[in-house]
Structure formats: C-alpha cells, structure tokens
Symmetry: C2
Subunit: 151 residues, 2 copies
C-alpha cells in the first residue's frame, strides 16, 4: 500500500526510491531507437562499434523514459501524480549498455507553497538513475507541482 504524499509531507533531504530495477536489453535499445532515435550508435552492436560510443548504447531519451517508469513505480508518490512543470540540467554522464540494470532515486531539494494557487506548491527534486555498479547514468532536477493536503 503506497502512501499519498502531499506538499506538507515533503522536506529537503528526503530520499525516495524502492526496489524497482529495469534490465536493459539490446533488443529494447534497438526497438526504442527505431521508433524515436534512429542513429547508428543506438541501432545495433555492429553499426555502433564505428561510432563515438564504440558499441551499442541506449538513447538518452530511452533512459529518460525508463527512469520515468521506475519513478512512477517507486515509493515517491505525490498526490495527483508526478506532474512535471519542467526539468533543469538533464545530463547523461555515461552510456547505458545492453545488460545494464537501472534503478532510480529521488531526492527532495526544495519545497515551497505557490503564491498564486493556495491549494498547491512546487517541489524541486533530483532524480538520479544508477546502473548495477552504482554509477550515475542520468541525472536531472525536476520542478513538480504538488497539491497541499485537503483541509
């Protein structure tokens, strides 16, 4: 049973996560790339070997999409859903490779009530995606809209 988190439940320094892991396969890397990012380094091991990646790597947008799924399935469960107004400083410090197993953690950085809307506020969270060696493969700061607890 998941807890519904309201703005009042969030505080800087909290870290949310969960047991969720996603195994990234070569097939899923190529399937995503065919739909959304058809470039040599994402389309097959052989073609990728001659690129800057020196081998098959997941599209950064694939990593972002997998990260969203892991976050939705995690214990970070704001009321009304994970509703992003925007993202700051999205980076991919190292490639995601076939066989990698990803997990995410969400750290609350900042919480503030909205000035214009009395029933909600803004939470800034850092979402970090890690591989099985605990290396960061993606990181960003999301600005989320979070409802206050109904009175």
């Amino acid at each position: 049973m998941k807890t519904t988190l309201y703005l009042e439940d969030l505080a800087p320094g909290q870290v949310y996560g969960g047991a969720g892991r996603t195994k990234v396969t070569a097939e899923s890397i190529v399937a995503f790339a065919r739909d959304f990012d058809p470039q040599d380094f994402h389309l097959g091991e052989e073609r990728a070997r001659r690129t800057a990646f020196k081998g098959l790597a997941a599209s950064g947008w694939h990593t972002a999409a997998l990260t969203m799924r892991l976050t939705v399935d995690s214990d970070f469960t704001p009321a009304g859903g994970i509703l992003g107004a925007g993202v700051e400083q999205l980076s991919w410090p190292r490639p995601v490779r076939p066989g990698d197993e990803l997990r995410v953690q969400t750290e609350v950085l900042e919480v503030r009530p909205s000035k214009s809307k009395p029933d909600q506020g803004i939470a800034k969270v850092r979402v970090t995606t890690l591989n099985q060696k605990n290396e960061t493969v993606q990181e960003f700061v999301a600005v989320l809209v979070v409802p206050k607890r109904p009175r």
Copy 2:
C-alpha cells in the same frame, strides 16, 4: 541528399527544421504511457478527465522522444550524429493532445571549439517543438558534441 554539418558550418542564429510532421494519436499516447509513464492523465480519455489535465495528454517524455525523431529526420545533420552531452531547461509549456501535429526547429545559440579535444567542439542549440497552431509544446537547450571538419 542531406549535408553533413561540421562545427565550422554552425553559427549562432541559424535555424534548422524540415518538412517533418508527426501526428499524435490517442493510441500512441496510451501505448507510450503503458510502457513508460502509467499515470491516469496519460492512460485514457475517461481517466484523464478527472485529473489536472482535464483530458488525455501525452507524457512529456513521449513528446521528448517524438521530438528526437523529428530532429533526426530534419535537416539538422551534424557529422557523427546528434550526440547530446546534456540538456538545460527542458519545459512543457502546454500539453500535447490527441490529434496534435508536431514539428521541430533547432536554433543554433552558441558554437565553441573544445579546449581539450582539438578535433571537436560544443554547439548549444535550442530545440523547440510546435503544434499545428504554432504553439510551443516543448522547449529545451541541448549541449551537443560536434566534430570539426577533417583536414
């Protein structure tokens, strides 16, 4: 026939685009959401009506993925591919709805040679995704690695 763009070909103020359009269907919104962002506002018209979106809306990560596809298919064709080191200030100013038709444009903001790697440089570009009413549905600044022309 597409031109291969080297660092020397890029200059601030250039705008790249192309004829590419993507029609977003309710089915594709729901299919992406089932895989990557299973939240009520992305999973079906009826469930979405009771959320902050007041109707079905595409996941922001779906818009980002469709934007990548449109960009790869556009006339913005850097040598070695579109290789993002990171993204700054990604925002979704309005939702993408079923029936929307998206296109992208890429504006060069800044070009500079790398200090450490003499054969490449960095280009900052603003990638804007527009709907059929010419409203911006997504915007971000990407930091790309672009090779210099071989001598």
